[in-house]
Symmetry: C2
Subunit: 383 residues, 2 copies
């Protein structure tokens, strides 16, 4: 069967859905691999490296001749419509926000797998692209903060006096948050963190950071994700966080709720109460932001309440793509592992009796299989 890997078309996207290593894995399964010329350039892989791994290089993929289509960013409805009936796609699909594409995939009879839907169970960890890409975003958020902070992260004892370590506060202690905590600790900062999920206190402590207890009702949904707080609780959460935010040199926010806009954790007033020169990195900027006033892809200078300077509010965007080489290495492996799960004797044949395959499937045979997405499409049709 023919697996096609496209050159990503979206502006600023530098990742690729296969590396020479993952090509070898796919070929080992008995699959043919076609790579669009230049697909790996931004991630550090030449056409020659793919050819050496056994892939066929093509100027442009003929979509209707593919059995499997591997991609990074969600497809456009036009691309989805050009796939043949029964073709399998594997990639990120952002089902909550890309309903037109979901409709197009269903209409084309495509069997589409959304990596966002891979169940969070041990057996599927090696296919979990949300986790692998969040690892990168968390690491990178600390670099972005350190570059903008006019201060050191570590403690320094010098002949001209002692410089105290920077104070870093991380809100949201999922994969990205824990990674941010670990990286900030590595760099020598004093780190504290908060999350609405009670299980996170131990995880935060195990990374060497201080967990901030807010005395709020816990909010944990299935799969280890956070659930939304009611309005009252959310306001109380902000009030309790305010003094911790004001005392930080760096604030990193990573709170996301799958399929919903990001929760507002930090108001403009809380940002303005920070010291001049402080830095806020909002990792949730692309889904609305955890911080009031965030602009995805931009730095916003927020004047401090004391009139002495500004706080830099960074709406982080494409964080994983900025480290395209390692991001692609992990992503391509996630894609290949999911395909491996569905392949036997050189044939990709999804078995919906497998909970990972069933859970990750977005559309199949004209049907939207993911219930929340099907409901969203129905609601849209009724409106």
């Amino acid at each position: 069967m023919r697996v096609g890997v496209s050159r990503e078309r979206r502006d600023g996207e530098r990742r690729v859905a296969a590396t020479p290593d993952s090509v070898r894995q796919l070929i080992g399964l008995g699959l043919e691999v076609l790579i669009e010329s230049g697909a790996g350039t931004a991630a550090g892989h030449s056409d020659q490296a793919y050819a050496d791994a056994g892939a066929e290089l093509v100027a442009e993929l003929e979509l209707d001749a593919l059995d499997v289509y591997a991609h990074v960013r969600p497809l456009s409805p036009e691309t989805a419509a050009r796939l043949r009936r029964g073709a399998v796609t594997v990639g990120l699909a952002s089902p909550a926000s890309e309903l037109p594409t979901v409709r197009a995939l269903a209409a084309a009879g495509v069997t589409a797998f959304a990596l966002e839907l891979v169940p969070r169970i041990s057996r599927a960890q090696s296919m979990d692209a949300l986790t692998s890409q969040a690892l990168i975003a968390g690491y990178r958020s600390v670099l972005e903060a350190a570059m903008r902070l006019p201060r050191f992260f570590p403690l320094y004892m010098t002949a001209a006096g002692t410089i105290p370590p920077a104070s870093v506060l991380v809100l949201g202690a999922g994969v990205a948050g824990l990674q941010a905590i670990g990286t900030a600790k590595r760099l020598g900062a004093r780190v504290s963190a908060n999350d609405v999920r009670p299980a996170s206190a131990d995880e935060v402590a195990s990374m060497g950071a201080t967990f901030i207890s807010l005395d709020l009702e816990a909010a944990e949904a299935s799969g280890g994700y956070a659930k939304e707080l009611g309005d009252d609780r959310a306001a109380m959460q902000r009030a309790l966080l305010a003094p911790h935010v004001a005392a930080s040199d760096v604030l990193i926010t990573t709170a996301a709720i799958p399929g919903r806009p990001a929760p507002l954790l930090v108001t403009s007033q809380m940002v303005a109460a920070m010291r001049p020169g402080s830095v806020v990195i909002d990792l949730a900027a692309e889904s609305g932001g955890n911080v009031e006033g965030t602009v995805a892809g931009s730095d916003v200078l927020v004047p401090t309440a004391d009139g002495a300077g500004t706080v830099t509010l960074v709406g982080l965007k494409d964080a994983a793509s900025a480290m395209a080489s390692d991001a692609s290495r992990l992503y391509a492996k996630n894609v290949a592992n999911l395909l491996e799960l569905m392949t036997a004797d050189g044939v990709v044949a999804p078995d919906f009796a497998d909970e990972v395959v069933a859970g990750a499937c977005l559309t199949d045979d004209g049907v939207v299989r993911h219930a929340p997405t099907a409901a969203a499409i129905e609601a849209e049709g009724a409106a």
Copy 2:
């Protein structure tokens, strides 16, 4: 006596020669301190903070009414000419490259102290601005590299496979180089280093990095600085370094020779032999560069020899200024400590019997006291 602190005029300069803390120190010595309004803004210090520390804020300093003038960047000849006879200046002076200013300082009868000339002895460490600012440049060089590298610095063991740590090579293991080594180690990279001074092998090892022995004749001058290699030796050094450069993900060069252009350690060919996506940070860019093709203040993309991508060559500039808050904290302390050494009963009166005072003095009473600079001016006059 009246000490004036200016708002720095040079584009991109964000540091300031006094902080509220150092103002308190100077006032404690019985000095008056005048601060130009806005002088500390970019370093995070409001006018109010200086006023609270006891300084007088002025819209613009009246230079001819000052007894002491503290600054960061070398003065212009015009500024030097406006100072009164017998006034004391303390700041960076770049005597090797700013001869017109040195002449103007001498002509005005100014007693000018150049922080670059502070002797490298234990007692003067707290006044050594080259060291304090190099600390910042070394730390920052690693952040600049990590931001541009499409890979992680640390080792990661993930469900989607193991990512090996990045390999970092540091050339020049002075203050900045050792700090780069320490910071790259903190971030989890595999670090090796080389320096022409034999003493550096132990220092490199003590930071947890691998010292690369090149089997070259040692080259150490007085004061712990490196001396220039002959042409043959320099070519051999490059040949021996080439395989180490090619094997690195990140190369950081920090080799400087006081008063001389930076030595060329790495040719374009050596850069082109690195892997696609690799990053080179040239900390010596402002003094000519250790790497062929460096442009101070710019990123240059160098195509790799294998045609598969590019290496990013960064001519780092104003590295300390980019971390203006901590850079100013240390710099201001250096300035205040040197002034404290020269002050008794509220009077700044340099005692040239003190080797630190004598060593740091550039001009006094119409005479250029620093012999190499005096010789350079004489040579220029004779030409």
